[in-house]
């Protein structure tokens, strides 16, 4: 008698994971190592599920993750997709994402931190807890800082309620490394350390086009060339935040386009409303070479 076989591919298709991964591929440019890692995690979860059905040992996998990377490399977006993915695979009951920062976890005075952290944890149960800028939780320069208390509660829940909650820590690479070095307990409880690489110039152009498509805008051929040039120069400037800088630049280009349209003719057609011309981007002070005031760090 032969052993029964299971069509892994069929289970994969049935789970709806492919749809999430396809969406990830379509909406996120670049990030090849991240996508590869997510695909691996998804595969492991599918295989684990089959193993469990066949009564093979499959310990509840540790799904806590850490996303490190420079600003604007898509950590939050990927975390959102991850919540969806885990939900489709049945490793998260609700698939909702609770995004918090230090302020939501750490209290102001003694005895304030534990209830605050617990409340956030309770809200995130059944879904994914995304802690942005997680390194702020630990402040070595102040030994009376309440962040350590929040970390301890977090660790306890991460360990004991693995079925109920997935924690994703995010932050800039170097600071997260320091954070993990000073909190070895945290580091060892996180199975997946995923590093988000910076985007190349080509990828940033594609991202810009994708953003514009979302807004129902487009670049004229000349504007496209100028935009590429803009990206190269912008990268050399301080506070470059990858995709976020691109989004902000395009936002400003939209402002200039609106002003140009009003000043120029006053009469426009649909195409003119949709097209960003080269001069909309050329007016940027990045291209003018004026570097008097560094651009403010956008967002958080």
């Amino acid at each position: 008698m032969s052993e029964p076989t299971i069509d892994l591919r069929a289970i994969w298709n049935e789970s709806g994971v492919q749809a999430v991964l396809d969406k990830l591929d379509a909406e996120l440019i670049g990030l090849a190592p991240v996508k590869k890692r997510i695909r691996e995690i998804a595969s492991l979860l599918v295989v684990d599920r089959v193993r469990r059905d066949m009564q093979l040992a499959a310990g509840a996998p540790s799904l806590h993750m850490s996303f490190t990377g420079n600003p604007g490399t898509g950590k939050t977006t990927v975390a959102l997709r991850m919540a969806d993915l885990l939900h489709k695979l049945g490793y998260s009951r609700t698939g909702h994402l609770v995004a918090v920062t230090r302020d939501d976890l750490v209290g102001q005075y003694i005895g304030h931190t534990a209830p605050k952290t617990k409340e956030v944890l309770k809200k995130a149960m059944g879904g994914v807890l995304f802690i942005d800028e997680a390194y702020y939780l630990y402040r070595p320069e102040n030994e009376r800082d309440y962040g350590q208390e929040a970390i301890e509660i977090l660790l306890q829940v991460m360990e004991n309620q693995r079925d109920d909650l997935v924690v994703i820590l995010a932050g800039y690479k170097d600071r997260m490394d320091t954070f993990f070095r000073s909190n070895p307990g945290m580091s060892s409880r996180i199975a997946h350390h995923i590093d988000f690489p910076d985007y190349t110039d080509d990828e940033l152009v594609s991202i810009g086009e994708l953003i514009l498509k979302d807004w129902n805008y487009g670049l004229s051929p000349r504007a496209k060339k100028v935009f590429r040039d803009y990206i190269e120069r912008r990268r050399a400037q301080p506070h470059f935040a990858n995709a976020r800088s691109i989004r902000n630049a395009l936002d400003r280009a939209r402002l200039r386009q609106a002003r140009r349209l009003l000043e120029d003719a006053g009469k426009v057609d649909k195409a003119a409303l949709q097209t960003l011309e080269a001069e909309d981007i050329l007016e940027s002070r990045v291209l003018a070479g004026v570097r008097a005031v560094p651009e403010q760090k956008a967002g958080t």
Partner: protein
């Protein structure tokens, strides 16, 4: 005649049934959450039926999506007050309702001594009835230890 062996306090839902398991409690809470009710945990050691307002264990939990968080709170309350009554309350905040929609006991003392009935004869031989919990003769916090 003993109509209620063990003198179990019967307040709220399911109180005539054997104690709910954690899995059953989870399902009940899930029902409450699906209805959009805010769930809270309360405790007391005064079993008198007119003792309506119990002590709140933490704030009511709004905006929760999953029962696991509430079960965590219940277990913490059980750990803190192993010999108290602990109940779970689901509050319906819809305008015009604004009252608890569910209430059931999830933890009770090991020993429930029950109630004594006192008859007081008033003017004209009118009888006033009073029930007193045998446990409540001791001060608060020492009643079931």
């Amino acid at each position: 005649m003993m109509t209620n062996p063990g003198n179990r306090v019967t307040q709220g839902q399911f109180s005539f049934l054997p104690d709910l398991t954690d899995a059953q409690i989870t399902l009940q809470i899930k029902y409450a959450l699906n209805n959009g009710w805010a769930v809270s945990v309360e405790y007391t050691d005064d079993p008198h039926p007119r003792n309506t307002y119990w002590e709140m264990y933490g704030n009511p939990m709004f905006d929760l999506k999953d029962p696991a968080g509430i079960l965590m709170e219940i277990n913490e309350c059980r750990k803190t007050f192993p010999n108290h009554y602990v109940r779970v309350l689901a509050f319906n905040s819809v305008r015009g309702v604004e009252s608890p929609a569910m209430s059931f006991i999830v933890n009770r003392p090991k020993n429930e001594p029950g109630f004594g009935l006192t008859r007081q004869e008033g003017p004209g031989r009118q009888v006033h009835y009073t029930i007193t919990s045998y446990a409540a003769t001791k001060p608060e916090g020492e009643r079931y230890s």
